[in-house]
Amino acid sequence: MLSLLGLAAFSAFGQSRRITGKVTDPTDGSAIPGVNIIVTGTSKGTATDVEGMYSIEVGPDDNELSFSFVGYQTRREEIGDRTVINVEMETEVTTLQDVVVVGYGVQKKTDITGATATVKGEELFQQPVLTATQAMQGKISGVQIISSAQPGISPQVRIRGVSTAMSGTTALYVVDGVLTDDISNINTADIVNVNILKDASAAAIYGSRGANGVIIITTRKGQSGAIKINYNNNIGIRQAANLVKMANAEEYRNYVQAATGSVPPPSDYDTNWYDTILRTAWQQSHNLSLSGGTDKTTYLLNVGYLNDEGIVLNNEFKRLTVRFNNEYKINDKVTFGLQSSYGNSVNQNGFGNIDIDPYGNIGGVYNNAYRAAPIIANKVDGRYGNTSAYQNVGNPLLDVNNNDIRVRENRLQGATFLEVRPLSWLTLRSSFGGDWRNSLNRGYWYQFNADENTFLSSGGNQYNTLSNLIVKQTQSFRWVWDNTATIQKTFGDHDFTLLIGTTAEKYNQHWFSATRKDVPADRDLWYIGVGDANTSQNDGKGDAWARNAYLARLNYAFNEKYLLTATIRSDGSSRLPGKNRWQQYPSFGAAWIASRESFMEGQNIFDLLKLRASYGKVGNDQIATDAFTQTVALNKAYPFNGSVTTATNGAQLNQIIDPNITWETTEEFDLALEFEMLNARLSGEVNYYNKKVSNALINVPIPRTVGDIDGVILTNAASIENKGVEVTLNWRDKITDDLSYSVGGNVTFNNNEVVALNGGQAIWGGSIGASQGYTTYTSNGQPIGSFYVLKVIGVFNTDAEVNAYTNDDGQKIQPNAKPGSFKYLDKNNDGVIDDNDRVFAGSYQPVAYFGLNLGVNFKNWDFSMALYGNAGNEVYNGKKAVRVYGTDNVERDVVYNRWTSANHSQSEPAANTGNLPASDYFVESGSFLRINNLTVGYTFPTGSLQRFRISSLRIFATSQNLFTFKKYSGFTPELPGDPLTSGIELSAYPTTRTIAAGINLGF
């Protein structure tokens, strides 16, 4: 067959001629380099060079050239007998032709019947942030992104609310067909676009993986044509964005004296602990890409480097990424390709690496800086101020310096595919993807004593008598093999696309950790073998699971007006017991494109008017792999032989399990109106959804007498509901050739509710230590993780008021209270304030979240601004709440606003020694509005660059998180966390403001 094709090509060459021309942008007459030119109906093609020029051989039967380029409307030109064809390409304004990746295939956006959204890579990569998801914040309705300012940490993505309490909440990421739960290894500059499948009908093709939504990432490919070299960077600084003002030494003395009656010892110091541990940090990222190809092959090589210093001393994240994407067209019918990426990252002293920071010293520094007294020195002449001897709080500067925690990861991720089109209506595709991760983590704790070598004065409990080294290595590999067949047929007005396929996936993981003490402080000696063998401990385990699925999707369109989609996926998972192993996930969607009806013809208001409705079912199998198997609890040793040095190993069977555990099932109904009008100037979408999760996993208590170690059994009992409305509106217009602008806004209203526990145990969560115990309670009829605390109804002004506060039986409710103490509501009127008097006080689940995006292009200048915010949620001021000693520092506002005999405040208590119970005093509004990104850019006119052989040059300045409008008195109202504990500010990383500048350079 190949030889036949060759012959045909040869014969065509015989009578060929050459066509040349130039492609320009009509707005300024500038050349457009890199435009793809294809002879319609053939595989012959070329691309324009730096000057926009092209040249192509055409045969006698060729009669049309097609010009296409990202961001421009495709042009088709009849060849006729012309030999010079110059073309002007108009910028693409309409989104009607946009293509959306829908999972195992692509569809035109107009043809989709489910809820999806797309963000283009170019909108994302210029922001000075780590991941694409962070850059997406505020750009898509229905997708809540809760960011963390910590270097190296991905934000939390919640698509249409939180729909599980006990199993995984991570959205499914699909990177070029590879399924994963973490994309911190993906360089944003590698991304062409991100497609989000929001509702169950769109996500149903991912079945049991789709319950938390699906985020599909497609990476860039090379374009055929001459080699293109692009270099992009941005370099900038980060600073703490919102710091709470703490009391200074004088204010501290005043408050502590009022609270305890004793005067703190005299001191010459007035330490600002936040200034001590924070810094202005550098961040930079660089990307160099080479791409190009012929009509048969394309290639793209992209190397990226990112360095992100944390604003906390000694905290740093570095990442190197290399991407190599290739595609080969053997002939018209067979294509194969490879998308591959390598990532190497190092995270130094990140917060919350509890895995290898069992003492939590690093994660605790930010909170310790809140508590440490200003009258203690931070460090003088190489010796630290002894906070722990004074107040039982570790010196945070010492913790930052004397703990060295490093997480290093290597990751190879990629997929290779083979696509065959044996017939014009049939496409067969097989894709094999893999994801190999290896992380080598190391923690080192320096030795130091609580003596005068280390501290200005000896004593206290901050010491480490023996240095300690922990090394942990984790290796995992997963592969996924997809095979699909797509049949596309048109019979008159009936268009059918049928996809059938199968997918198999396997994962295994192995980790190993070792620790020894007494390892010398020399960094070159930080290896396990150097430590004292008598102190060695080690541990290790693994995990493995497999999944297998069969899937089918039928798209039917009648007359391009009436659209139907039906999907079914049959999913099997090794994580579930045999009888529950397979589950079917169906979905249906229908849409009506009213604007294509004959009665709409002739009107010029609507370019698109579309109504769609869908129903779908998806699942969540993110449960522990051993959830249904009774396993032996190991290493339950006992020291026989009277030995103090050895023990006999033992085991216990101490868990009763539910052998019938099954998937959480999500059913979602979605109804939407999409429109594009006024010559594509206004477009938008209004969406209603109702998503109900049944069989949600929850712990059901069982009698303690059965001997289950935690007294609960994980089973499928609860139901959780998310209902909401999403509105998106975009306006864009070109006022003159020199001035165009766009305004886009979106808002999502979501209502989250646990509708039934069905015997499940209402869940206490959000334990913050101190005397507060838990702060959240997940119960019937309330949002997940609702704050459940005492209600403050005022402050006692006099002893008489204390005595007068009685229940119906005349019993004094707070007999030990003093003037200036909080007066708490005795909800059950039993005369005692205890946990039974707690009331619901809102939750971290926002009533609404929204984004606003502005863009202006004036001549060569571009300006953009993005705002993001949420409203109607609450946060818990955990830092304020865990003031456990009378010697802990307090916020300056607390010093000045406190109740005194002269100032009878009814909202602030008198000076106190902390340990207040959990109450709504600590619950504050979480609403905020933030200027997320502000960018100004200037693109140099092409003409001025040509003599430097530069095809494009843009310089820009950008700012991330410039300003936040918030009511919350703490550091940040944006607080990622698991469903039961989110919204509590305790040791969250301080939010940062970034100001950066960069260039985009093309050759």
Partner: protein, 502 residues
């Protein structure tokens, strides 16, 4: 062309159907199941011993931790709550002050801890039944497990009265919910009957101490515990006979220096009949969480030193007054903190100087819970909460049980037994002894050893003694027992009945 179509189509079709169900049978990694470990039965027996180390008092279960200390010592007239006045008023202060409620977390964790252990024992017994071991070996292991189960039920019946008598493993949660055994209280007598049967099996199948590996339950331990059970039931002939057997077995004696019993050198001494073993595993301390940490001397407002613990369970002035002059046991049981203006501090047996005055929170601490960082061996001496064996049964107690039974039965030599104990304490012998003498001797000999409160209840004078000690909240007919945890009552749909007056 056709060929290629057929070939590729066939390939894809094959790929589509090639996945079989075996593909999804992925065993749990690193989590052995009952079928994957042939030596499991023996390991499960060790696991039952391990479960005695539970000390998760605020969480999933306590057998010998801080909750146990609260429910045995702090509740009695021997111990005060200690620490700072406000520290742990709930739940610990509620034991000291008899303000216990059914929501008390420690009363709940003792319940769950004991049933966790009983569950581990029942699992071990089930595994032993099918294990391929010789009958002798199997019966010895079963004897050990039944000894431990008997001990656990003995604690439960003394704390709560009649409790659900669970002697088997439920198949699953539904089975546990359906079988009333798990959620209704058995009669006190039935619980005692089960304890006696378990202990009798142990007596019949366990080896003597001299041929047993240290730490395992022995025949002597089973006999001594069975004697104590009979003593609580006032079955004096059995008490007498069993203690006589233990005494005449030649396996036990008193150690010379009383004070050394609670140091590492005194672990598993000739006097030891049954003790909870602690030590080292995986280069870490293997211990009962918070047993020593909760009782260690605590820094006072003066600060200036790195203290030893939280400062709970202080020996009471009432206990101090109970000692006769020159009783060697007083200074072996109690650490006296120097509160004089001289500020000399207190030098402990290992040379450690406990600071004086304001630098220490309380006046008295439990010497029997003191560990020496310098003179004792620990996997991790830097950890304040260090391992400590707990002496559950000592030969001295057997002598005193024997004396008490001898008085009731008017046989034997009660004065001789008591005087053996007194002699070691450096006291003059008594001529003739009364029951009251034996009770007094029990108090000072076994002070801070988790016996006093139950002993008073057994003697039927708990209310009288508690009131005399100033614990006026004690209500007779109520506070002899702990409240049944409210969570468990609610879970049973009120089938589990609360103790009187709670």
């Amino acid at each position: 062309m056709k060929k290629i179509i057929y070939f590729t189509s066939a390939f894809f079709f094959a790929a589509v159907i090639s996945c079989s169900d075996d593909f999804l049978d992925v065993p749990v990694q690193g989590g052995p199941t009952t079928s994957s470990d042939p030596k499991l039965a023996e390991k499960l027996v060790t696991g039952v011993y391990n479960s005695l180390l539970q000390g998760d008092s605020w969480g999933n279960g306590d057998v010998h931790g801080f909750a146990f200390i609260s429910a045995t010592n702090i509740i009695s007239d021997d111990g005060d709550k200690g620490s700072t006045a406000g520290d742990q008023l709930v739940p610990v202060g509620d034991f000291d002050n008899f303000t216990l409620t059914p929501t008390n977390k420690f009363a709940e964790s003792l319940w769950s801890g004991h049933y966790n252990s009983i569950g581990a024992a029942n699992q071990a017994l089930a595994a032993l039944n099918t294990a391929s071991l010789s009958d002798a070996e199997k019966n010895k292991l079963i004897g050990e497990v039944r000894f431990l189960r008997g001990y656990l039920y003995f604690n439960l019946v003394r704390m709560y009265g009649g409790v659900p008598l669970v002697l088997r493993v439920p198949r699953d949660a539904a089975d546990a919910n359906a079988d009333p055994t798990f959620q209704t209280r058995a009669d006190v007598a039935d619980v005692y009957q089960s304890i006696k049967e378990d202990l009798q099996f142990a007596v019949d199948n366990l080896p003597l101490k001299s041929v047993a590996i240290t730490g395992h339950a022995t025949k002597g331990a089973a006999q001594s515990l069975l004697a104590k059970v009979h003593m609580y039931l006032q079955e004096w002939p059995e008490v007498y006979a069993l203690t006589e057997e233990v005494i005449s077995s030649g396996q036990y004696d008193l150690v010379d220096d009383y004070a050394t019993i609670w140091r590492q050198e005194g672990d598993n001494s000739v006097e030891s009949i049954f003790e909870i073993q602690t030590g080292k595993f995986n280069n870490a301390n293997l211990k009962i969480d918070n047993y020593t940490g909760s009782q260690g001397p605590r820094v006072g407002s003066g600060g200036g030193w790195d203290d030893l613990g939280w400062g709970f369970n202080n020996p009471s002035p009432n206990l101090i007054a109970a000692y006769e002059p020159d009783d060697l046991r007083k200074n072996a049981t109690i650490i006296f903190v120097d509160k004089t203006p001289a500020h000399t501090g207190t030098v402990l047996w290992d040379g450690f100087r406990l600071p004086s005055g304001d630098s220490v929170q309380n006046l008295y601490y439990n010497y029997k819970a003191y560990t020496s960082r310098t003179k004792e061996q620990f996997a991790n001496p830097a950890e304040k909460d260090r391992p400590k064996n707990i002496k559950i049964l000592r030969y001295a107690e057997v002598l005193l049980m024997n004396a008490e039974a001898a008085i009731h039965e008017s046989m034997g030599d009660p004065a001789g037994r008591v005087n053996e104990v007194r002699e070691r304490a450096g006291l003059d012998p008594l001529g003739a002894v009364t029951i009251d003498d034996v009770w007094q001797e029990r108090r000072v000999e076994l002070a801070m050893e988790h016996d006093r409160f139950w002993d008073l209840v057994r003697q039927g004078r708990a209310a009288e003694v508690m009131h005399a000690a100033g614990k006026t909240n004690f209500v007779e007919g109520k506070h002899e027992l702990l409240p049944i945890p409210i969570s468990q009552i609610l879970l049973s749909g009120n089938k589990l009945e609360q103790n009187p007056l709670y």
